[in-house]
């Protein structure tokens, strides 16, 4: 599903963000990407999204090497991924319903499909009764649920979350994590970049730990186990 083969990334400034990284996340897996800030987590996420190009190595997504993907095909690669960020990134002048529908609109879904799909994912994330509310009237946890609904509304085969609980209190963070687990149980591959130690410990999933651009650990378990 997601495979890094000898991937290195050196930015133009000269800093080497990641160095010769190899890992493979299989279909339906749930994996944490952990490490302190500056460790290279964000670079890995950006490389998966093809927001950045690797300096060397190959990145294979859904069986296809994306290294030589034409720029015009990148939007179609991204349609196979749902993406969630720490800062939610909702559109403030659109309602909850419109924010989610927007993701379907831009991939040119039919109005009929949109009308059926949006209420379904909103009830899945527990916001069926907040469809007409604007983002600034919602709590942080609720906003992140909207972002999650938007990420999965087009039925992507994988969900990439970059610090999804970074702006949330521990209880709300745990709710979001359970939601991510639910989504994973429905068959979606989930990759979560985080440094929330207690959550990672509690979830007891695969942990890929990055330190100074290298993978220092890749196994099932808690945040710090060696």
């Amino acid at each position: 599903m997601i495979e890094f083969r000898n991937v290195s990334k050196k930015y133009e400034t000269g800093t080497e963000a990641i160095h010769n990284i190899n890992f493979k996340i299989n279909k339906g897996e749930f994996a944490f990407l952990v490490g302190s800030s500056g460790s290279g987590k964000s670079t890995i996420i950006k490389l998966i999204l093809k927001e950045e190009e690797p300096t060397s190595g190959n990145i294979i997504i859904n069986g296809k090497d994306t290294t030589f993907l034409k720029p015009s095909r990148v939007p179609f690669l991204r349609r196979s991924m749902g993406i969630v960020f720490q800062d939610f990134r909702l559109l403030p002048d659109k309602t909850v319903y419109e924010n989610v529908a927007f993701a379907m609109y831009v991939v040119r879904a039919t109005p009929k499909h949109i009308r059926r799909q949006v209420p379904m994912v909103l009830s899945l994330v527990g916001l069926a009764n907040k469809a007409k509310v604007y983002p600034n009237e919602l709590s942080g946890g609720e906003q992140q649920r909207v972002a999650l609904a938007r990420a999965i509304v087009n039925n992507p085969s994988m969900l990439i979350a970059d610090e999804p609980t970074g702006n949330l209190d521990p209880n709300t963070a745990w709710d979001i994590m359970e939601l991510l687990n639910d989504i994973n149980l429905r068959g979606t591959t989930v990759v979560v970049a985080t440094h929330a130690k207690d959550i990672v410990d509690k979830m007891n999933k695969r942990v890929i730990r990055i330190d100074k651009g290298n993978i220092v650990r890749d196994e099932k378990g808690g945040y710090d186990e060696v």
Binding site: L77, R78, V106, R108, R150
Partner: protein, 298 residues
Amino acid sequence: MRFNVVSYLIKEGFKSTFKQKKMTGASIIIMCATMFIFGLFFVIGENVNSVITQIESQQGIQIFIDEDATDAEIETLGNQIRAIPGVNRATFVSKEDALNSMKTTLGDESLFEGWDEENPFPASYFVTLTDLSLNEQVQSEILALDNVDEIQSENTTINRLQSLANGIQITTIIILILLIIISIFIISYTIKLTVHARRREISIMKYVGATNGFIRGPFVVEGVIIGVISAIITLVILGIAYNAVMNSIGDSVLLQEMGFGLLSFSEMFYLVLGVYLILGVGIGVLGSAISMRKYLKV
């Protein structure tokens, strides 16, 4: 479904156009000003061209025929002249016709007593051209023919008008180029503001897999809206200004004596409208493309 996407793009384009009211207004004003100046030269140029065409139909070349040419030779010469490219009409003027026309011009037949027997006027062909710029070329071709004695034409008038027309054409083209550069710059700057205001939306669109064409769509629509609005406003202002000028100089004695009519604005309406719309839409599309270049990477 396709139609749905089109209506979405147009709706979004209109929305963003009117969100940045001040900047949109400023760019419309600047575009109108530059388009107006261009339009001014354009209609003056059209009028000069129309006057030239009118002169072309009147102005002619007089070709005097050798005294000893036979009727058959004169006939052949006429056909040869008509075959030259650029010649509109060649009318034969016999010796008698020339004398009679001189009599009418001077108005006193007694002066010409006895001239009928020994008519000093040569026979000639009066040639009109389809295009004044071919004047010299046609003349040299005619000179090469047999039985041509001499050519008379008003080269200087023709040349002056032609160089005036050329001058106006060059000025119009320079103004057009300036107009395009200024307008593209101002439109792209205006749209950049909208793009910047909506960069969050654009980045989300990119993450959920919208194609660049889809993201660009509303901004192209915005550019086209600004261009078309400017085109229509300028057309109205130009029309009013033109008619005002025509009313004050249109019936001037000078123009009437020269015998040339100027064009009315309605005669040029569709031409000017077409030119303005092409310019407006073209500049709008180019301006938005330039403003989007940076934001579409990622």
